[in-house]
Symmetry: none
Subunit: 211 residues, 4 copies
């Protein structure tokens, strides 16, 4: 986070930035290693000192894009909010971040979506990590008596479906204007109040709702 620690690292970062420029300008599929090397003022061969393959480069771009979202997830997980609030923040903070990116430049955002479509493996590991953290939250919620009668995996699957539009960038980019944290709060409330079959009652965290 502070300064890059080696020359290789700083080189990598510089290249990454050029690469990000390129992708935001022209979409993810229209660049060649030769062109990137040209912009970076080095030979292609040298480029390979920094990234061992084009795939690695694209992975790095994905990493660059996902990193802040992962940091958010980790912060939220480490916080001592109650489970309901934690789950809300788990989605809301990432959504806020992505919405601001989309606001800044929807076309560039679309380029990342394109990149995600073309390299689905890269997205998968992020999704898996998200599932992992969400499971942790679900576990904490269960410890407090929520989701009675469901296994963790069942809850995970249901929640994933209910919140999908706030996470899936492929769709999110296209319906961004319809999304907001108020709706998200209602969804999370529904998750907590609606998914625990044994435990109906009027205990919505009213504080979450904007209304």
């Amino acid at each position: 986070m502070a300064r890059p620690q080696t020359d290789l690292d700083s080189g990598r970062d510089a290249i990454l930035e050029l690469m990000v420029e390129l992708i935001e300008e022209r979409g993810s599929s229209a660049f060649t290693m030769t062109e990137l090397a040209g912009r970076a003022g080095m030979s292609t061969a040298n480029l390979y000192r920094y990234f061992e393959s084009k795939e690695a480069l694209i992975e790095a771009v994905a990493g660059y894009w996902f990193r802040p979202k992962i940091e958010i997830m980790e912060e939220v997980i480490a916080s001592d909010l109650n489970p309901r609030r934690k789950m809300y923040e788990f989605y809301a903070r990432r959504f806020a971040r992505m919405k601001s990116e989309w606001d800044r430049d929807p076309v560039a955002f679309a380029s990342y979506v394109e990149l995600g479509n073309e390299h689905f493996e890269l997205v998968r590991s992020y999704v898996d990590l998200g599932d992992h953290y969400l499971s942790v939250i679900i576990g904490e919620a269960m410890a407090e008596g929520h989701f009675a009668g469901l296994t963790i995996d069942e809850a995970l699957s249901l929640i994933n479906q209910m919140t999908s539009v706030y996470v899936n960038i492929g769709v999110m980019g296209l319906i961004m204007p319809k999304l907001n944290t108020d709706k998200l709060a209602r969804i999370i409330d529904a998750v907590f109040d609606g998914l625990s079959a044994q435990d109906r009652g009027a205990k919505a965290v009213s504080g979450l709702r904007a209304a």
Copy 2:
């Protein structure tokens, strides 16, 4: 128009469908003639009996996508609605069609946007045709005294700008949820009531407005 007349035609249609699948699945830039030939169960060489080049194939896909929109324009032009209503329908019906496509599969829709971005020439002739038909409507409106003091080209340019988001798929895909026919009706009213400087008055076609 109905049945394909030769084997070449029907083969073309079959290939087109596979091509559409491919594009909707994976975006327009990620396909090769070799892969399409593979899916079609034929050699690349044979593929070239049906489409003389990759470009021709992509053109055919564009045609496939634009055809229903063009038919809509022609129906509206041929109808005997009054100019204001005609202009409204000119946009509204195409918008409805595109919205339903987007609702069905926003990602596939995005693939067509991508294809349009990569082959702008193909879009241009559609745009030109739209301009032509719009000019016809403008002409009819002028015959009834609208747009006084403007040339057809001036009116065309202004109207194009005011309605752009209901026509330009590049942008439309990104803000679809914000678009609806009610807003469109207000825009068309504004066009008719606001662009004719000499002719102010209270004659909005209230029927157009949902309110």
Copy 3:
């Protein structure tokens, strides 16, 4: 020589003529089976009923071009001229034929040269046949005491070298204007009078010389 005897034969001849047109128009390397089939108003597949391969077709063209020259050789061989005259006619009549072709259309002539360069095997068998007939004449000449002290092969080789420009179309096309039968006659005289070492004397066939 008279009428073609089967439909296949007559078809072959028709195709050959179209092919000759094509070659004379555009050089030997710039034609495709598809194009020839198109000109002939038939499918490529059908073309293969007449000629089993492109190579066979080209061979046929070569045959078409060489046939009259071969007929000339056979007539001369069958004639009862004396050896010296026979050898002269052996070259002179073929030269006259080629010169008239060159006069008619030097560019078309060049196309055949090109064809010969690209398919040297075809030329070789003609050359071999020429060698065979020339050997016959040499044999007859030897029977009359010429070329004493030389084997047939030695004489053949020497004579080939001395007469090369009157036979080798690759070069002939380029120096045609310098060639004539008068010079040829002198060469043949030199062959007969100069190659028979033991047999010097003043017996030039003066009738051969234009002077």
Copy 4:
């Protein structure tokens, strides 16, 4: 100008030589990038480091062939001969060069003709340059009172026609033996003495004529 300055340049030269060999051996139409790469002992991909396309390679060959002729033109233009002599040398020196090439290997010469036929654009710029220089000479001649009553373009066109066989390699190859500098001198004299209508007289540069 003397030594190649980079490896790419020297590589280009080496490849050019192999290419020239290939063309002189087998004509211009019978070579493939693959074969040339094979002869050069490299991959086709590497060949493209030296020449960016087959067309560029052929252009280079054309340049290689035309360069000495262009140098001759420039020398003659720069010389301080009188216009009549200058025009004579303008043709005669190039003709001498081409004749010596033809003498060395008429078949190779024919290959260049073939190449010129197949890539006429390459010939055109040479022809245009020749027209330019000839115009300069015509201008100088006019300054001395020649070609009275003619525009430069009229004179250019007439002279081009009269001298065509000493310049047009397509025809030259076929009638080379008939061409010589003596005839050329007569033609140039005719140009100077015959094209200036107002200015008849007996001032042929007799020195030009062999007689």
